[in-house]
Each structure stands twice: as structure tokens, then as C-alpha cells.
């Protein structure tokens, strides 16, 4: 990060002097929102922005309902009963009564605390709803329930253009980001990378194709194996599928079993169940790869793609969710739509290492300028400032 970037951030931050930004979500630990806030708030503080963080209160029933909401908004089939809505409304009412809302800007993350907007008229401050979910194809019933709350906000923020529905309020596009200094993204020595490969029994004798993702049908792990088998007909290589299962996802064990069965004891296919928190190991596997694949059917933003691009790896990925924002076809990687297309793109990259290298380098630069945490902070500062100014050109 250059001096001019820091100077720019300081300049923007100085314009927010005296304003308190109150972030509200449902948990301090676990999940992408908590991770982003825990990294971002100290940096905002260093810039002189008074950004604070509170969470709403809720019991297990409430969080079971919001988990259902989450899945439904992602487009998954969920049965949501009248009682579920009642549980959500009752918990929201308690939070409206009990929660201290002191910020000049109330920055609400995701649907769980969205109902706090009821106090907007009373407080007269600015409210932003940050949607971290892909709501491009939501369960209409759940969306119809939430939309009356969302439209009361001063602005909404989405991670990809396709995620934003037509709403009568200002909507902004702010992509997530990665921290280049975190364990998952920092530089690693060759000896560390080699030791991780040794640990998982992956020889370095052939090019390695890798997909890092949960064992989830939406990540199409079987499709990845099929594409790999097509590639293997002409290019000798290995496949590493590294991921974890989630305790709140009963399907994941079933998906893992299917993937293992489909791999059929092929010694060139490595199915790795990586425990949570193994960030350095994921980092090492990505760095050891020749090509990184993300053949998802649905994707939020796809931070695993961002991580791969940051490591200057050539990427073949599906054009879903936030991936097209990151992979500009033939500039920063290759976009594919099916198993054959994915296999064709992987072959192109394996047989043209210079082309692959150029895409990888472009990808790294693309992330450097657009998807690092500094850009994320800048976007948030601009977002906060935009609440106090109208028009397409704002002079501060």
C-alpha cells in the first residue's frame, strides 16, 4: 500500500470527524461478517474514525429462524412457518426496546438485526443495511417479509450487481476483501509449502489442479472430478479437492461420501478434509497449485477465488455470484459454464504456462487494486460520506 493510498484514506476519514459509526450484527465470532468487522474496525480506528460494534440478542429459536431466512434468501428451499415469523418479530421487538442505538450512522449487517430500523424516525440518524447474501434469486415469501424493513433504510449495500433487487433506495456495490497479511494470504516459504504437501501425501511430480471449498452440492465437487478426468485424457496431472464440512450443514457428510466414491480410489485425486482454522495449510495448497478451479453452481462473492488470484494463480471459475467481478474472462482468468468448458480451460492453462502466468499476474494486480482490505475501507468511508451528500459528483 502506497503512501498516497494512506493519505487518501486519512483525508476521507477526517471528513467523518465527530461521527459515530455503530455496526450491528448477530455475533462477535464466527462467520464472514464478524471476521471482516474484527479486521476492519481497528483499521478504521487508526484512521480516526469512531466505529463501534454491537450485537443483537437472540435465543436458539431466533437463530434457527434466521438460518432458515439465510438459506431461503440464497434460493434454497426452506419451509418457514408462521411461528418462525413470530419468533423473528418477537426477538426483534425485544432488541428494539433494549438495544442502545447511539450511532450517527447505524450500519446493520444482514437480515437478523434488520428490524431495528423501526427506531429510525425516533432517532433521526442515518441507517445502512449491508446485505452479505446473494439475494439474486431469493425465496419470494421471505424477501417479501424483509423488503418492507429494507426500504426504510437510507441505503443498502450489496456485494455484486446481480444481487441487488429493484428497491426504492440508494444501493451501493461494495465487494468484500481479503487481508494480504492474514495466515490465509501471507507469503509462505517453499519449505512450509512442501511440508504441507508431505503432510497430505501429495507428490510434486505432476501439475496440481485445486479447488478449495466446502463439501456442498453448490460447489459442484463431482463436476470438478469429471472435468479433471477429461483433462487427464491429454495432460497428466493431479486433483486436490480441499474443504471442510459444516456442523450446521447435514448435507456435507453425504457430499463428501459421494465425492470419495466418485474419486474411486484414483491416486491422483486427493480429497482432503481440512479442519477449521487451517488457514496456513489452505494457503500452502493454493500456492502449490498449478491451476485453481472454482466450479460452483452458486457463489456469494467467492473469496477463495480472490485468494487464488492474490497468489497469482491462473483460475478457471464459473460465471456465478461475484466471480465475474474478479475473473475478467481472458484477462484475469477464464470463466466457464460447464464441465467440458472447465476441462478445456484447464487444458489451455496447463499446456500454455506463459499464458497461465500472464493471467495469474493480471489476477494478482486486479486483486491488489480492487479486493484488498484498504479498498474495502475506502468504500465504506465513501459510503458513510455519501449519506450526507446527494448528487453524482460530490465535492468535499
Amino acid at each position: 500500500m502506497g503512501k498516497s493510498t494512506i493519505a487518501e484514506l486519512k483525508l476521507l476519514a477526517s471528513k467523518l470527524s465527530g461521527k459515530v459509526i455503530q455496526n450491528i450484527n448477530s455475533t462477535f465470532v464466527g462467520g464472514g461478517v464478524a471476521e471482516i468487522l474484527s479486521r476492519m474496525l481497528p483499521l478504521l480506528g487508526q484512521l480516526g474514525v469512531d466505529a463501534r460494534w454491537n450485537i443483537i440478542k437472540g435465543d436458539n429459536d431466533f437463530f434457527k429462524v434466521t438460518k432458515k431466512f439465510h438459506n431461503a434468501l440464497h434460493g434454497r428451499l426452506e419451509t418457514i412457518t408462521a411461528n418462525d415469523y413470530a419468533v423473528f418479530q418477537e426477538t426483534t421487538r425485544k432488541n428494539i426496546e433494549e438495544m442502545e442505538l447511539y450511532g450517527d450512522i447505524i450500519f446493520v449487517h444482514d437480515p437478523q438485526p434488520a428490524g431495528l430500523i423501526a427506531r429510525k424516525k425516533e432517532l433521526g440518524n442515518k441507517w445502512i443495511w449491508r446485505c452479505h447474501i446473494d439475494v439474486s434469486h431469493p425465496n419470494q415469501e421471505v424477501w417479501d417479509f424483509l423488503q418492507p424493513l429494507v426500504v426504510q433504510y437510507d441505503a443498502a449495500v450489496f456485494s455484486a450487481p446481480a444481487f441487488s433487487p429493484e428497491l426504492p433506495l440508494r444501493q451501493f456495490l461494495i465487494s468484500p476483501s481479503i487481508d494480504p497479511l492474514s495466515d490465509k494470504n501471507k507469503e509462505l516459504s517453499q519449505s512450509t509449502i512442501d511440508s504441507v504437501l508431505t503432510k497430505y501425501g501429495i507428490p510434486k511430480d505432476k501439475p496440481i489442479i485445486t479447488q478449495v471449498s466446502r463439501f456442498d452440492y453448490l460447489k459442484d465437487p463431482v463436476g470438478v472430478i469429471q472435468a479433471f478426468e477429461l483433462v487427464r485424457k491429454s495432460v497428466d496431472c493431479r486433483l486436490v479437492f480441499a474443504g471442510g464440512t459444516a456442523s450446521d450443514d447435514p448435507e456435507s457428510d453425504q457430499v463428501l461420501a459421494e465425492v470419495k466414491e466418485r474419486a474411486n480410489n484414483n491416486t491422483d485425486i486427493h480429497i482432503l478434509l481440512i479442519p477449521p482454522g487451517s488457514d496456513v495449510e489452505i494457503n500452502a495448497l493454493q500456492r502449490a497449485s498449478t491451476v485453481i478451479v472454482q466450479k460452483s453452481h452458486r457463489e456469494g462473492f467467492g473469496l477463495t477465488v480472490t485468494e487464488a488470484l492474490w497468489k497469482a494463480k491462473p483460475v478457471v471459475a464459473s460465471a456465478v455470484g461475484g466471480i465475474p467481478l474478479q475473473v475478467k474472462n481472458k484477462f484475469t482468468g477464464l470463466l466457464s459454464y460447464g464441465i467440458e468448458g472447465t476441462a478445456y480451460d484447464i487444458r489451455q492453462l496447463l499446456t500454455n504456462p506463459e499464458y497461465a502466468s500472464r493471467l495469474g499476474e493480471n489476477g494478482r494486480e486486479h486483486v491488489r487494486y480492487n479486493f484488498l482490505i484498504t479498498r474495502h475501507i475506502k468504500d465504506y468511508l465513501l459510503l458513510f460520506l455519501s449519506l450526507y451528500h446527494s448528487g453524482d459528483v460530490i465535492y468535499l
Partner: protein, 457 residues
């Protein structure tokens, strides 16, 4: 009295003769010395020669008069004590007279030398005072010696004072000597633009005996201890260039991306939405790649061309849209009309029913520009080039692209300032003619710096 003279006339006449004889010798010696000095004055080219000659000419005759008194005293019949007292008085007068002459001469020579080196006034005054005080101390010590006073305690006192002074000024001394060195070497002068290897840079506005003051690019003033200027590598870019009465103030532009909720899945929908969206949307989709992908060479074209090629599979139309030269347009309205016109021509020739796959529709996005002043202001071309090296690419983008097209000025800000404020018509024209869309932002920055440096060399 007359009787006494009759008896002792020799006691008076002999000393008088001795005094007169010495005076006559003195007059003869002065004429001899004058001739030698006149010949030396003709031969020498040293500017200080007349000062030395004047001083010597003033001194010679008084020396002989004093010598005459001493000789007369010695040949007289005065008591030994009286003789000793007179010799001490004459010796003291001689030391004072000679010391005064040397002090005056040294001051005049130092002034001449320091004036020639264009040393700052404070440095000259300090050097002269130090020399004057040193000589006065030497004269005082000699006088004390003549009168038999003990000088050891005085010498000790002086040594203590010198040590205390050295301790008090231990930090300032290196700066003072560095300042003296800078003054005498004439490597740096007020008005020069300098850059230290430690990063500080700016115009020298004052050179003191201890510090040098620089006006830096954000118009603040920094004070650099002189010792740093002699201990570190300093690049001196030389004398100031023509100053603009009104400096160029650099701004930085940040972009917030606003979603419109509008999308198109085919060409007809595309032009329908293109017609109604604000200019900020057209700006975003024709300039996004410049900022997001400015590391790519060549940079991708506008979003419309890419979407038509990739999502609709119409590479011929995509190529036509991509090849629209944005640089030819001075406002976004005419650019929008040109893009719509190309699509309409295509639809008129061959109605197109191709539609983008779900998820690959064209999403209309608006750029919201937030513009802030930076602390940087350039008064001349050298400062301008140095600031260009420092500013963010967003700042460069604002002055070259955004001002010209989005704010409808028709020209980039740099050219306008150079032409209007510096009368740099040719340079301004060269920058105007430069097609910024064919460079990456870093390459554009470098090209602009090279153009300016070529001009100021």
C-alpha cells in the same frame, strides 16, 4: 630651569637626537616600504591587497615613533625603574596599536571573502565576532604578560568557558560548521529546489547558520538542520523556474459504485436503458477499466463492447462498440449517442433476438465521484513534476479523464493551467494531444513527467 639645562643639556639633547634620528629612519623606512607595497600592488591581483597596504602604511610611522621613545628613554639618565615603566607603557601601546590594526584588517578581509561567497548575513556576523573576540583575548594576554600579571588562571578560565560553550552548543556546532561549509561551497542557494535522500524536498527559502528552511510541495515549511544537508545525499535541481501566480492545486477523486437496479438482456433493452440513465452511468461503463484494470496493456475496452461480444456472442458489433475512441468526445452526451447509434444501425440492418444467459445480463451501474483537495500545490513545472510522482492514480485520473469528459471542461486540467498560468503553450498542447486512453495510468504518469522534464532541462 635654565641653569639646570645649561649644566645638563647633554642629558636632554642626546635622547632628543636619538628620538629624531629614529623618526627620520622611520620616515625613510616608510618611503622604502611604500615603494615595495606600490610595486606589489601593481603585480598582485588579490582583492585584499589594498586593505593590507593601507594597514601597513598606517602602522609603520607610529611604530618608529614608539621605537624612538624607547631608544630615547634608554639613552637618557632616568632611573632604571622609570625606564622600565616607560618601556612597559610603550610596549603596551605598541601591542594595542598593532592589535587594533590586525583586528580591523582581519574583519575587512573576512567581509570581503564572505561577501564573495555570498554567505548569509548571520554567518558573516558570527565569524567576524569569533575572530574579533579571539584577537582581543590574545592582545589582552600579551598586555597582562607585559605587566607581569599571572596569565595561567586567565588561560584556565578561558579554557573552562570554551569547554562550557562547546557543551552547550554541542548540537548546534555541527550545524553551524555545516552552514559555513554550505555557504562557502556555494553548492546550495536560496531559491534552489533540492531533494534529500531521506525524502524531504522543496525550495530553499532561507539559509541560516544553524538551519535551512524549505517550502515543500504541500506549501508547508520544514526546517532542516544544516548538518543533514552535508551528511546526506542532496539532489539540487537548481534555480526556480517561472512561477504561476495561481498554483495548480491537486485534487483526488474517489469512486463509490452505485447500483441502479436496471439491467438489460438484449440489445433493444440495452439501448432503451442507455437512453434514460444519467451520464454517471455512461461514464462508469466507458471508464471502469481504466481504474480497475489499469495494470493491463492494452486495457480492455468499454463494458458495452465486452458484454455484446461475451454475453451476446456478437463479436462484430462488440468490436465496433469497443473501437469507439472515447478521446474524440468532449462530453458524455455525444459519446452516449455514438454508442446507441452503432447499436441502432446494427438493429436496423439485422434485428437481433440474442439474449444473455440468466446472470449474465448487463447491469447498469453508476459512479459517484467524491472529490477532495489534496495538500499538494505546484507553483512551477519542477514542483508539478515532483508532485506527479507522489499523487495517487485517482488524482491523475481526476485531472486527466474526469475533468475533461465528465465535468465537461473539454480539456484536461494540466494543459489548461500550463497554458493559462505559465504561458507554456507548447507543453500544454503536447499534453492535450496525448491520448490518455492508450496508456495505463502508471505509464501516463511517467509520460507526463518525461514531457515536463524535457521542457525544464
Amino acid at each position: 630651569m635654565i641653569d639646570w639645562l645649561k649644566d645638563n643639556w647633554l642629558k636632554v639633547v642626546i635622547p632628543l637626537i636619538a628620538f629624531l634620528a629614529t623618526t627620520i629612519v622611520g620616515l625613510w623606512f616608510k618611503r622604502f616600504v611604500d615603494k615595495i607595497l606600490d610595486r606589489w600592488k601593481v603585480r598582485t591581483k588579490w582583492e585584499g591587497s589594498h586593505l593590507v597596504i593601507t594597514m601597513v602604511r598606517r602602522q609603520v610611522l607610529p611604530w618608529f615613533l614608539l621605537l624612538g621613545i624607547v631608544i630615547a628613554t634608554q639613552v637618557s639618565e632616568l632611573t632604571a625603574n622609570t625606564k622600565t615603566l616607560i618601556v612597559k607603557i610603550i610596549g603596551s601601546l605598541f601591542v594595542l596599536f598593532l592589535g587594533w590594526g590586525i583586528i580591523v584588517l582581519s574583519e575587512q578581509l573576512l567581509r570581503l571573502y564572505l561577501l564573495k561567497t555570498k554567505a548569509p548575513q548571520p554567518t558573516t556576523a558570527i565569524v567576524i565576532n569569533i575572530v574579533r573576540i579571539t584577537l582581543i583575548i590574545v592582545v589582552a594576554l600579551i598586555l597582562l604578560d607585559i605587566w607581569g600579571a599571572p596569565i595561567t588562571p586567565v588561560l584556565l578560565l578561558i579554557a573552562v568557558i570554551v569547554l562550557v560553550a562547546a557543551f552547550i552548543f554541542r548540537n548546534s556546532a555541527p550545524n553551524f560548521f555545516a552552514g559555513f561549509q554550505l555557504s562557502t561551497s556555494q553548492q546550495l542557494k536560496v531559491g534552489d529546489y533540492i531533494k534529500l535522500e531521506t525524502g524531504e524536498e522543496g525550495h530553499i527559502i532561507e539559509m541560516g547558520w544553524n538551519n535551512t528552511r524549505l517550502r515543500v510541495l504541500d506549501e508547508s515549511v520544514i526546517v532542516i538542520p544544516n548538518s543533514r544537508l552535508t551528511q546526506h545525499k542532496v539532489i539540487n535541481y537548481g534555480r526556480p523556474l517561472k512561477k504561476a501566480e495561481e498554483p495548480f492545486r491537486f485534487y483526488v477523486r474517489s469512486q463509490l459504485t452505485e447500483l441502479t437496479g436496471l439491467k438489460a438482456k438484449n440489445l433493444q433493452e440495452l439501448i432503451e436503458v442507455m437512453r434514460k440513465v444519467p451520464d454517471a452511468v455512461i461514464h462508469y461503463h466507458t471508464h471502469r477499466f481504466l481504474e480497475e484494470h489499469h495494470y493491463l496493456t492494452p486495457e480492455p475496452a468499454n463494458d458495452f463492447g465486452i458484454w455484446v461480444s461475451d454475453a451476446l456472442g456478437d463479436e462484430a458489433l462488440g468490436e465496433r462498440l469497443a473501437s469507439v475512441n472515447t478521446f474524440e468526445f468532449t462530453n458524455l452526451g455525444t459519446l452516449r449517442e455514438r454508442l446507441i447509434g452503432i447499436i441502432e444501425e446494427q438493429l436496423a440492418k439485422r434485428p437481433d433476438s440474442r439474449e444473455a444467459m440468466t446472470g449474465r445480463e448487463f447491469y447498469f451501474i453508476k459512479s459517484v465521484s467524491v472529490i477532495l483537495p489534496t495538500p499538494y500545490a505546484a507553483h512551477d513545472l519542477r514542483e508539478f513534476a515532483e508532485i506527479l510522482r507522489k499523487i495517487s492514480l485517482s488524482s491523475l485520473y481526476f485531472h486527466i479523464f474526469e475533468s475533461r469528459l465528465r465535468l465537461g471542461k473539454g480539456l484536461n486540467d494540466f494543459s489548461v493551467w500550463m497554458k493559462d498560468r505559465l504561458d507554456e503553450e507548447q507543453l500544454g498542447e503536447e499534453i492535450t494531444r496525448l491520448d490518455p486512453y492508450t496508456y495505463t495510468l502508471e505509464a501516463l504518469r511517467l509520460t507526463l513527467i518525461q514531457l515536463i522534464e524535457k521542457r525544464i532541462k
